[in-house]
């Protein structure tokens, strides 16, 4: 921390932390630095001092205990006050965002940073999505499935109402790891908020099928495919997609499959999710043939392709007309 000096606070009477009493539970062996910083921070918070030195002290306190929520509140109030005083609210807020970038890079697991960021953007006089994208990019690159960072990205997109880069961005993450469920759900989030045309939905279906071809046993891409039909196409599954799913199931629905089928008599298939997808499609369009096919698919899942969930497949079978 540049320019931080405990000597700037000698006039502050420390508000010590109560510790060392016989009834204390899990006492912590505080370091001298912790005791010093915290007891001064506690006093400044109590007195409501909104100053540059108070701001510096909160950085220190946050570094020592990022979960100390009161300090975040305090820092926010200091920033509000000082920004107003400085006469350059925008410049001041940008400086605070720079500080937050630094803390974020040094503390990727701390989730308090994201809600603090949201609070700052809400009071920033000229917030910009361009300012946010680089830090988001770095953080997602570093931990591609970080729930907090993805949530923040989606919050930003809604806040700025700027969806332009998002499908491309999600695609870049899917290219890097086709199993990245955060990237897949990000696509659904974008689709749901952008009112896609029938044509765009078709393109999305084609996109998904290509990704399924790369790895057929991938829950994320199949869930997404199913989601597209449910959300945008009223579950009207077309013949082409049914054929597509059948490619990964080695035509096993042509076989006679009953519960007493020898497991060894069933061929290896490429994707249990494809079979589940088919079962689900057949279950949705009741006809004696479809119901029979759905039954066979669930039986096969239960016997061989996804036996840990046999009770679920039985439950599904029980719901068939």
């Amino acid at each position: 921390m540049s320019g931080f000096d405990m000597n700037n606070y000698v006039d502050v009477e420390p508000l010590e932390i109560e510790t060392g009493l016989p009834d204390e539970v899990c006492p912590i062996m505080y370091t001298d630095e912790y005791k010093q910083v915290m007891s001064v921070a506690r006093r400044l918070m109590q007195e409501g001092e909104y100053s540059e030195r108070a701001l510096q002290l909160t950085s220190k306190a946050i570094a020592l205990a990022p979960a100390f929520y009161t300090v975040w509140n305090y820092r926010y109030s200091i920033v509000e006050h000082l920004a107003k005083e400085s006469g350059d609210v925008e410049g001041y807020m940008n400086k605070e965002m720079d500080w937050l970038d630094e803390v974020t890079l040094g503390n990727p697991k701390n989730y308090q940073i994201w809600s603090y960021r949201q609070a700052l953007l809400k009071i920033h006089p000229a917030p910009s999505v361009k300012r946010e994208l680089p830090i988001l990019q770095i953080m997602i690159d570093d931990d591609t499935k970080n729930y907090h960072v993805w949530s923040y990205r989606k919050w930003c997109i809604l806040f700025f109402q700027d969806f332009t880069n998002e499908l491309t961005y999600a695609d870049s993450l899917i290219q890097r790891d086709v199993y990245n469920n955060s990237a897949w759900t990000h696509r659904m989030f974008v689709m749901k908020h952008t009112n896609p045309s029938k044509h765009e939905v078709r393109e999305e279906i084609e996109y998904t099928k290509k990704k399924i071809e790369i790895v057929p046993q991938n829950v994320s891409s199949w869930e997404y495919l199913r989601g597209l039909y449910e959300v945008f196409l009223d579950c009207e599954y077309d013949e082409e997609t049914i054929k597509f799913a059948e490619k990964f199931t080695d035509d096993i629905l042509k076989l006679d499959i009953t519960v007493d089928k020898e497991v060894s008599a069933l061929p290896n298939i490429e994707s249990s999710y494809a079979l589940e997808f088919l079962a689900d499609v057949f279950a949705k369009i009741p006809s004696p043939e479809n119901t029979n096919n759905a039954k066979k698919a669930y039986t096969a899942l239960s016997l061989k392709y996804d036996p840990i969930r046999s009770a679920l497949w039985n439950h599904k079978m029980g719901q068939l007309a």
Binding site: I17, E18, L21, P22, D23, E24, V25, C26, P27, I28, M29, Y30, T31, Y34, M45, Q46, L64, A65, P66, A67, F68, Y69, T70, N73, Y74, Y76, S77, Q112, S115, Y116, Q118, A119, K145, Y147, W150, S151, K154, W155, Y179, N181, T185, M188, F189, K192, P216, Q217, N218, V219, S220, R226, S271, S272, Y273, Y305, D306, P307, I308, R309, A311, L312
Partner: protein
Amino acid sequence: MDSKLKKEKHWKFLKRHLNLLPSSHQKQDPNRLALVFYSILGLSALEYDKIDGYKVHLPWIRRRYQKMKIPESKEYISGFVGSPLVDIPGLNTFSLSNTLFGLIVLITLKDYDFFTTILDHDSISRFVSSCQTINGSFKSSLDPVTGLPSPVDSDDLRFCYIAVAILYLTGCRTMDDFEKFIDVKNLLKYIKEQECTVGGYGKFDEPHSGYTSCALATLSLLNCTEFITNEFKEKTLCWLLQRQVSNEGCMILQDDKNATYDETDNGGFQGRENKFADTCYCFWCLNSLSILTPDWKGLCDTDLVNSYLLDQTQNTIIGGFSKTDEDDPDIYHTYLGIAALKLIDGTLDGPLCMPISSLQEFLNNSG
């Protein structure tokens, strides 16, 4: 299961977290009641016979409960602060999560007297009520100056759950009871907005089993699970059951391809699609399932969950449970691991995440 569960080792591990801790724990200081909660509840769930010895700490825990006058008002507000660090005279620093932890620890140590003579129902409910935001959700603390929901906190399903659990423990049962303090309709609307396309609950359409458990536990405590449509219930049930990691059938085809697939995770639950199994998600998923259907044990393979926890994430040398089979044990995963095992054997109340026996005794005592 009992022979594999290293009860005495876990007692030791848990007890260590209630003694003097090294300075590396400073980061957990603001929420110290969380540490106390995980340790005491773990000991209680594992029937530690000398748990009464911890009653010497009751005064310290009681002191974390504070009441203050709302500036420019005749009314009071009260709640727990997580530790003496956060206790700053004159400032409202109550924390919703630490309030729930504090109450449950006192119940577990059978300090019923606290509930009849010290706890102020009106002012603690006022605190819960103040944390609700206009979108129906909750934040976990208030701005110490304005007393409004903290502008720098996130609002999410965790705090919805915690708010409702506090009200439940302080006596709310019927919809009318809850409505005296919070806007239930708005809360239900918020919960509904967290429903995801593929089932489960989460932020912005990415389902997460932790949030799913919070959403369902909230509905369960409010006694309104019927608020969920049958279609969404079925989707969520399915989504949850799919979170049990398997190394059989086609699932093993992910081996060597999917970087977050590990065949030794077999039987454990994951928090999201295409993630490793994790001890805590065994609890979050099973708890969610148990709220959705009384038949949950027939729907998933609980024997495999037991083996995942006892053979993979239980530390048989120093005690405790770790997140995955590759981490060191920590107090959070230790309690959640124990909670999952106890939920399966029927001795844990899922929505409040505490032993049924303690809860029942408390409820009988509070009439």
